[in-house]
Symmetry: C2
Subunit: 461 residues, 2 copies
């Protein structure tokens, strides 16, 4: 182990950031059918980055699902370290939609530096973090001529739309992806300067609930009082799905949940977390909500939840239109925790909605996508190497946390490849993922790249 | 009284319809700021029609409210029948938005005849019905050289956005509008070929309810379980505003309501109304809803209601976005019946929402516009003349009904001018007001014009 690669990364850090900006300028919004070309352009950019880093067999792998052609995977490998472990590096080059555009201080696809941060859609989720993998590999290869471990890199373009393409590829091509562990940088540090490994993620089901009443839109003056109102019906259903104390009222919803261990709960209590500070600086609502018997960390890490993301339909323009819409929709998702299965949860939810569907309307529930919850054991060499690498860079003990979000691929790696995943993430809690003014703290980009270099070096030592 | 004017209307009926089509081609959507020019164009078209009919003093009257410049009123008069009554004819030349456009069989602003109907946004509400007034006056003037009564015509361009401009004008210029009765054709016949006079209208308040939670949009994975969800909060509020049996739960909401008389209720029961036919052909929902103790006609004519028209905010695009929106909105209106006051109802509603506003969010209720409920006495010469005129054209007794919608100007005429309004409307129940594929039955356009001619002739006899 030498410091050559770290020195290379430090000397070339500014160039790495400029390259990242070029990638961030490509609006690779995977959910938007009009951005198909941009998504592919981002894939090609990543492939070129892997070639430049010295990886071999670099190629785009086309994906498709039953319904549609998918966005390509980017693959590359370097397998010339016999007797050393093989690490599968995963990231994604697609991004969330940038709307609402008018809330961005600088345009989402014009990366802008302010106060040591880089602002752009995808800065931290996940282009910036994926790019650290590429640049860590380049630093090792350029400074030493080889890598300390075998590496396979797989970068997808559908993480924000459910990742069906990669899921199928992992299921069908386990041989190609055979590895000892996976490395994913798509999570965050618990606090600035606190090296953090994420060892658990919630799963999810994302659904649409459609309610239909009258056969056409009706005038609320003429028909109000007799015609069913699908928005009122949706409101009644939603109010029954989730009690006011945050408890989800679907029968059997909480059955089988695996609670965190006492040791894990104790460790969470020791984390530097102030609820009032979190409320004020991150959430900004008058109060926090959720199940009163659980702490905020439990509510966001180890308890399932339900959220409504939008309710399309009816009249949403300026002013007044007195319409009783024929139909209305709610986009509803549930976060799942270990012990819950997406398909089972969906079945319970669907059955409950059918049971409480108000009179006068019909209710239809559709699954948009899902991901399984996972817990990574802390008891393996890869987690240990990652914890040491981060400790070396930050000079502090690495803490273990969970994440409330979902990275379905981590479940696929466990299920299909039988390998653990190291979730070494460098985002910060106020990075505005999925929101306007997404950013990446540039110091974390550089220290993160160094941590990844040291992680590979430790594994190869 | 002669049949000259009716003969003129019959001879020129086709031309009248072609002129109406020209008016319908102007997309005078008053709620859309981008249509200001089109709204004015429609006003000028109406003014030209009044001039051609032989009216005098024809002019556009500018309006404005505290917040914005309004759309113009069109005025014209003919006051050369001394000793005869003066009738104030009212109509509106603005129309509802045409969305959703993809549900129209022919484009909303390309008037198209099919099966004896004229399809276009505004065909019946209210350009087509207003145009009958203009053409009835033209028929009388062209065929006899004068009118049998004095006439003032006032046509507004803000009926679909609350009519604040005309309300102020009526309040401030009662002298200009002094008349013995008003004539409004903006309602419908109870059934095809059943001459109908509307003698009561519901009032309304149209509101926006805004709920704010977090200060920015948040990722539902990271914050779900702790951050308040404004759509869930809105659902909880809406579910508390209206019980599942249709009863509105705002304290004091029903206080002071004036019930219809036993005679009126008996007359309603005698009307040709089949609930199952109405459900199947007009509403098309699996069931009708509403307060179980009241008939459908009571629920839509003499009972107040609440409807949700749309819930803007959050993610409404295709696919999935895992956002907890910072805010969400519901467009909510209430229909009011005699005995209820818009300002008082709004105050009760606002106070109740503030009281039930869920924890973690703030709630704000805004009034968008309002109109008072009214009942017209059937005991006057104008109603009698209208009933006779319609009976003469259709050869059947005219029935008295109420309307569930709101025509706020009728309340203004009572309050500011002290005059009764004759609501002689020629729409049909399936005319798709405020919905895609709005139409006007052309036979009703012609018979309606004839009815209006005969109404004026009877009043002047």
């Amino acid at each position: 182990m030498s410091d050559k690669a770290v020195a290379f990364a430090q000397e070339n850090g500014e160039r790495f950031v400029e390259e990242l900006k070029d990638l961030l300028r490509i609006p690779s919004v995977s959910t938007d059918p009009e951005r198909v070309g941009d998504v592919r352009k981002a894939a090609e950019f990543v492939a070129e980055g892997l070639r430049k880093a010295g990886l071999e067999n670099v190629r785009l792998i086309e994906t498709s699902t039953a319904e549609r052609k998918g966005h390509p995977l980017v693959y590359g490998d370097w397998l010339k370290a016999p007797g050393k472990p093989t690490v599968l590096c995963y990231g994604h080059y697609d991004v969330q939609p940038a709307e609402p555009l008018d809330e961005w201080k600088s345009p989402p696809f014009e990366p802008t530096e302010r106060n040591g941060n880089l602002y752009a859609r995808g800065a931290v989720d996940d282009k910036g973090q994926m790019w650290m993998h590429v640049k860590a590999l380049e630093s090792l290869m350029s400074s030493t001529g080889s890598l300390p471990v075998n590496v396979k890199v797989l970068v997808e373009g559908e993480e924000e739309v459910g990742g069906e393409g990669i899921e199928a590829f992992v299921r069908e091509h386990g041989d190609v992806l055979k590895a000892d562990a996976a490395l994913v940088s798509d999570t965050e540090m618990f606090a600035p300067d606190l090296p953090t490994l994420c060892v658990g993620l919630r799963g999810m089901i994302y659904t649409e609930l459609e309610v239909r009443g009258a056969m056409v839109d009706l005038h609320s003056g003429m028909y109000g009082g007799a015609a069913p109102n699908p928005f009122v019906a949706l409101a009644q259903i939603i109010a029954k799905l989730k009690r006011e104390d945050g408890h989800i009222a679907i029968p059997g919803f909480y059955d089988g949940i695996e609670e965190p261990t006492k040791a894990e709960l104790d460790a969470w209590r020791a984390l530097p977390f102030e609820e009032e500070h979190y409320r004020k600086t991150e959430v900004g609502s008058p109060e926090l909500v959720g199940e009163p018997m659980f702490s905020v960390l439990e509510r966001t890490w180890s308890r399932p939840t339900m959220d409504v993301h939008g309710m399309p339909g009816g009249f949403t323009g300026a002013g007044a239109k007195t319409v009783i819409p024929a139909k209305a929709l709610a986009k509803i998702s549930f976060r799942l925790v270990p012990g819950m299965k997406p398909a089972e949860t969906f079945a319970k939810y669907k059955s409950f909605v059918e049971q409480i569907c108000p009179r006068g309307v019909s209710c239809e529930v559709r699954m948009i996508h899902s991901g399984e919850p996972i817990v990574v054991s802390t008891d393996n060499d890869y987690i240990a190497a990652a914890a040491e690498a981060m400790k070396a860079v930050w000079g502090k003990e690495t803490v273990y946390v969970r994440g409330g979000g979902s990275i379905p691929i981590v479940g696929d790696f466990v299920r299909e490849l039988g390998i653990p995943t190291v979730l070494m993430g460098f985002g910060l809690p106020d990075d505005n993922l999925h929101a306007p003014n997404e950013k990446f703290h540039l110091a974390n980009f550089h220290r993160g790249t160094e941590s990844i270099i040291r992680f590979f070096e430790r594994l190869g030592a």
